[in-house]
């Protein structure tokens, strides 16, 4: 673990508004947003279909009368059907990664970019960023919001950016070492690749000045945090966002690291049961839904993220008054239903991190050759764990089987594969191959 201690600092007074002030701010901003989306034909029609006129939305409770917006809606409106301003007002375009189809484009006005930078500055500050620090951004730069979002956030705090972009791990390490970088920004999967490189090349910890890292862009687990922190000797912070809502900066952890503070002055969050669409109780897992309150170019109403998490309204020791969200447990559309059991890839990761002799690299393959689901998990063992004794290898396999069964309740076929034989990811990791016919 790192000896680095993060001082509790709050970047923006909006983060610690009394709840009642926050709620009245949210109400007035919601009214404004509802007016604004009338300029978008999609929303105009949806409101008309639901028989709602903008003046009917007065309080936060009225929000629930508004329709949801889904990924499918955004695809339908590709590329700029959701734009609420004139194109000449747009300062920047980004897009979702488009891994499951064509990308969804998002737009920002100059003000939107300012808002976004400020939101990123909040979680960066909460997680230790000081103006004198330098931050290496190993996120992809491009349509993906991660690179530029964090870039402007770091600059807004007054710190310096090394825009390394994702990939070329040996160069990442060279920069980190030569530039004595204080903080790293990337996906947790890529951090794992970086950490492997450090261990393999026996780069001494003293050669680096790395103190902490901000990870986002994909779900990860507490066990993975422990692994990376232990291997790299740094503190790791979690942050969350998605391009449809704004990008990174929707929420992030403070020094207490017990959930991510949602910037509620900029977004209203709901947590719903993805089947019934009814709100779940605080602390219960459900799908997160966001309504933007400050966006000009592409305001969004009740966007269904597909991300599964829980909300914690309890006050945090750091002094921020906002609701905190848990880690993303998985995506409602990534969720595998195997033999009627809901499984998230993150559960496999969690299991592997608990078994000695395996690397947290895995691939889940689901097949239904007949009528029964068959799940195989390809697991990378470590070089040290290979033994010429069949008994030892079978035992390793069984330990993995038990760990997975303990977490998921299912028995899966474990296939041990050589170290470094599974694909490494510089961005979002892809862990599931589902060959079942739907």
């Amino acid at each position: 673990m790192s000896g680095f201690v993060v001082e509790n600092r709050i970047w923006d007074k909006a983060e610690s508004l009394p709840r009642s002030d926050l709620q009245s701010l949210q109400s007035s901003r919601l009214r404004k947003t509802v007016e604004q989306v009338q300029r978008i034909p999609f929303y105009k029609q949806k409101f008309a279909e639901a028989g709602i006129t903008p003046d009917k939305i007065r309080t936060l409770d009225d929000l629930q009368r508004l329709p949801f917006t889904t990924k499918a809606d955004l695809r339908e409106e590709y590329p700029l059907g959701m734009l609420a301003v004139d194109r000449k007002e747009v300062a920047r375009y980004h897009g979702s990664s488009g891994t499951t189809g064509r990308p969804t484009m998002v737009a920002y006005t100059k003000n939107d970019l300012k808002t976004w930078s400020n939101l990123c500055a909040r979680f960066l500050t909460a997680g230790g960023l000081l103006p004198e620090h330098s931050v290496q951004i190993a996120f992809g730069y491009g349509l993906f919001t991660g690179g530029f979002g964090l870039h402007y956030g770091v600059e807004h705090v007054g710190a310096s950016v090394i825009p390394a972009a994702a990939g070329n791990t040996s160069k990442q390490l060279m920069l980190m070492k030569d530039m004595q970088v204080d903080a790293l920004v990337c996906t947790p999967s890529y951090a794992l690749t970086i950490s492997e490189f450090i261990l393999k090349n026996q780069i001494p910890r003293e050669a680096l000045n790395l103190k902490y890292a901000h990870f986002g862009g994909e779900p990860w687990t507490e066990d993975m945090r422990a692994r990376i922190e232990d291997e790299m000797g740094i503190l790791c912070f979690n942050n969350y966002g998605l391009s449809e809502v704004i990008g990174p900066g929707v929420s992030g952890e403070c020094a207490v690291r017990d959930g991510m503070h949602i910037s509620e002055d900029a977004f209203i969050v709901e947590c719903i049961d993805p089947d019934t669409l009814e709100p779940v109780a605080p602390g219960e897992e459900g799908e997160l839904v966001f309504t933007s309150l400050c966006k000009e170019a592409m305001p969004i109403i009740r966007y269904r993220t597909r991300d599964i998490a829980s909300l914690n309204p309890e006050p945090c020791a750091c002094g921020r008054t906002s609701i905190r969200m848990s880690r993303i447990k998985g995506r409602s559309d990534d969720m595998l239903i195997i033999k009627g059991v809901n499984i998230y890839p993150s559960q496999i990761e969690q299991a592997l991190l608990r078994v000695e002799g395996t690397a947290p690299h895995y691939q889940i393959e689901v097949d239904r050759p007949d009528r029964k689901d068959i799940v195989s998990v390809k697991v990378e063992m470590t070089e040290e764990s290979f033994s010429s004794s069949m008994k030892n290898m079978q035992e390793l396999k069984e330990r993995i089987e038990h760990a997975i069964q303990a977490i998921t309740g299912l028995r899966m076929n474990i296939e041990l594969v050589s170290p470094n034989s599974l694909e490494r990811f510089t961005g979002k990791a892809r862990h599931v191959i589902d060959r079942r016919k739907k």
Partner: protein
Amino acid sequence: MKLKQLSVFLENKPGRLRELCALLADNGINMITISLADTEQFGILRLIVSDCEAAKSLLEEKGFVAKITEVIAVEVSDEPGGLRDVLQVEEAAEISVEYMYAFTIKSGENAVLLFRFDDMDKAVTALQSAGFKVLDRVALFPNTEN
């Protein structure tokens, strides 16, 4: 008196074993004997080769996982009862066999039994005091320098 054995992890992929053999052949490494323990999903290949260290680094460069393990080579005459006699000695010394394989040398005159025991040092002592010939590298590779 122990012999170096190379153990290699083999994924169940077509061509993997051939790839390994080609790599050793192309680099002039001779296999004295080879044994493959397999399961449905992976295999463990055990080899006695002319240059264990060189073979290991060649294989690792190509992404194989290889480890050097010690085994004991015992020479017995190639006739009924050869293996039994060795096992009797080990049983009496309360040592168990983790795995074993065998090959013959000198045109079928003698057999060499390769063992991995749970207690290797104790095994060597027991075998030697019972009069067995435990082979070293030189006995197996009379024509090589190292």
